[in-house]
Amino acid sequence: MDMSRRQFLRGAAGAVVVAAPVAAASAPFAPREPKQLPPKAIGMLYDSTQCIGCKACVAACKEANGKPVEQPQYLAQWNEGTWDTAEDISGKTLNVIRVYQNGAMTEKDREKDGYAFVKRHCLHCVDPSCISVCPVSAMQKDPLTGIVTYNPDACIGCRYCVYGCPFNVPQYQFDEPFGRIAKCQFCSHRLKDNPLFSKSGQGTTTGATAASLMSEGGQPGRIPACCDVCPTGASLFGWVEDLQAEAKRRLALKPGEMYEFPRGLLGGDRPSQTAPVGHYQPHIYGEKEAGGTQVRYLTGVPHEKLGLPKLPDHSFAAVSEGMQHTLYKGLIAPVVLLGGLVVLARRGAQSHRDEDPSRNDEDSPS
């Protein structure tokens, strides 16, 4: 070994410079603070026990959002454009009804030998992963209503929103040369006509004037297409806090008891649907899942069976951002590390020149 004392000291200095940020990074790691429900959060309550699987919501969604029907090639010539056979959400389908089937399928909303429906679309998370991962702010959460929107002009198509969404909701159009991300945006174009949801709209206390949504200025205010057409009120639109109270109310009822299920808009003036209360799982899915969502589910069979994954109470975005903030807060760690590296690299490069003048590239790394 020809290592001199001086060299050793420099090596040790290098070790300190490199180890310091690593030690700093391993200091108590904390996830980012959870995000709160926006002040005028709107949402949906989907009651699986009330859904009859008619798929009117799927058709209405396609019409409202200008999406084509999906059908296999062999059916295309036979009855073009009339029979939609979408099996899941996709680049062409923002909303779909799926069926749970088990055994003899004799009874609805029963786990064993039963069947059940579930609606699949964006749940509009309170703390969305898609927004957290998007490098170009193409995904945005409306600060008032909490709708998660998509801006194709910003999007670079990296698909990390698809990768990171805990519900596999954003769908890239792989079969298009200029594909976009397709996802439910809560018919925000329809809601735009509704003065209550425009940003300049009067601040409405949650729930108090929900009924007025239906008759703003004599014109019926428009609501998301799926809730608008749902015949049983299985898809119910409204303020998230009202919907949460409604869900709790339903859970407190006795199964089989008759109940007036509101339709369209919770607190609206549409006639309600009288039906027996379902055998609910004692859990409001979406209240806490992944930091909470603005779409909430009541189901008769366990939610895992319906493709609604078991999730912790925090958003994975809070973990990921907590890590970024630990390492990059104010860019302090990288700047300090760079400073140390510059000093060491300068001395390193100089010593190479001093001690070995015969080389033709003393101080270049190349």
Binding site: R10, S90, Q173, E176, L327, L341
Partner: protein, 393 residues
């Protein structure tokens, strides 16, 4: 120590292996064209369950780790001041230049809305909470730094007239003077984005098996990038030495071996210690897909530790085998954590299509072709004192 003079290797450029690689490049180019004309679905098996496929995982996540030779060697030579390794610097840097530049090319093929890629640089679209944003900017900056660091190799080859006309001597002197800034950036930037490549996975949550999903992902990715960097330098040096009969660097690598073994032990200790701390050790021995992948990874990391700590480390053959093993282990770690241990549920599966793989293979072939072209025409390799292999320059 003999004088270290970098020389072009010389010799014919269009050789049979070069043409063979060119054939794969053409096939890849055909499918790249199809991808842009008909969309990604035309050539790729990627889906909305597995939206990240081989183009990102093989070409970017693994490809940039293979490009970490320059990063790993600069850390050792300039920051830890181990100048004995200096002859290995320039070839390692060249590997980095191509590893990273072609990862950038692969990203442009993979981006679904590539014409918007410039938005990454527009401040009003910036999203600093996004890990991918950090990776994208940092990799772009590093590609620039790599080419600047590599500039002297070009400048040395320019004819005196050109040098005079464009005042290249001044540019060269400027680069030489401030090279230490580039060296520092060339260590900082990979430290940042290689660790961030691990942080990217934190968003997956339940989709990624706990065998891989840990808050230590950034550090594990950083260590694996360094070990793969050293592994690449060892592998390349052996291949080049055998193919072109240049002087052997085996003695240098015998010293480097201990550094690499130390890093690998640190990596394994962190990986297993964290697993035990979180109480998931059982998953490693569950005998299922994830558990077995994890054990294979560990074996591939452990084998080089034994080789590099034994007397065998002096043998070039064993060095080469150890390098291959740790590169395989590091690649498998990255492949598993990005793809093979990811379960999006809902019945999704993924295996790359042939055209999709041909694009990845085409990009890798282009990388090797450019590497060969550069070492033959530019002063990269640490030449022997005799001129027998170098073209007079």
């Amino acid at each position: 120590m003999t004088a270290t003079v970098h020389r072009p290797l010389g010799g014919r450029i269009v050789t049979k292996p070069f043409l063979f690689l060119g054939l794969f490049l053409l096939i890849g180019a055909y499918f790249i064209l199809r991808r842009f004309l008909f969309g990604m679905g035309d050539v790729s098996n990627m889906s909305n369950g597995y939206p990240i496929g081989t183009w990102v995982v093989l070409d970017v996540v693994i490809g940039t780790a293979f490009g970490c030779g320059g990063f790993a060697m600069a850390l050792l030579i300039y920051i830890f001041n181990r100048k004995v390794y200096h002859p290995l610097m320039r070839p390692a840097l060249l590997g980095g230049v191509f590893g990273y530049t072609l990862a950038g090319l692969a990203v442009m093929i993979d981006l679904g809305r590539y014409w918007n890629a410039f938005n990454l640089l527009l401040p009003w679209y910036a999203q600093p909470n996004s890990v991918i944003f950090e990776v994208a900017l940092c990799v772009m900056a590093y590609i620039t730094v790599l080419w600047l660091e590599f500039c002297p190799a070009f400048l040395e080859r320019m004819s005196p007239e050109i040098r005079q006309r464009f005042r290249l001597d001044r540019l060269q002197a400027f680069l030489k003077r401030y090279m230490y800034v580039l060296i520092a950036l060339g260590v900082l930037l990979p430290t940042m984005h290689q660790s961030s490549l691990g942080s990217v996975l934190l968003i997956l949550g339940y989709k990624l098996s706990p065998l891989w999903n840990t808050i230590w992902l950034p550090l594990l990715y950083l260590i694996s990038a360094l070990t793969m960097g050293y592994g690449v330098v060892m592998m390349e040096a052996t291949l080049v030495q055998r193919a072109f009969k240049t002087p052997s660097e085996a003695a240098l690598f015998a010293r480097l071996a201990q550094v690499v073994a130390g890093l690998l032990i640190g990596y394994l200790a962190l990986r297993w210690g964290d697993l035990a701390y979180r109480g998931y050790l059982g998953l490693a021995f569950a005998g299922d897909w994830d558990g077995n992948l994890f054990l294979i990874e560990t074996a591939l990391f452990l084998a080089p530790v034994f080789v590099l700590l034994s007397r065998r480390r002096a043998s070039q053959r064993w060095q080469f085998l150890a390098a291959i093993s740790l590169l395989a282990g590091g690649s498998l770690y990255r492949l598993n954590s990005y793809l093979m241990a990811v379960q999006p549920g809902n019945g999704w599966t993924y295996f790359p299509s042939a055209p999709e793989l041909m694009i990845t293979i085409g990009v890798v072939c282009l990388e090797i072709m450019l590497y060969l072209l550069f070492i033959k025409t530019l002063p990269i390799l640490h030449g022997s004192t005799t001129e027998s292999h170098g073209r007079p320059s």
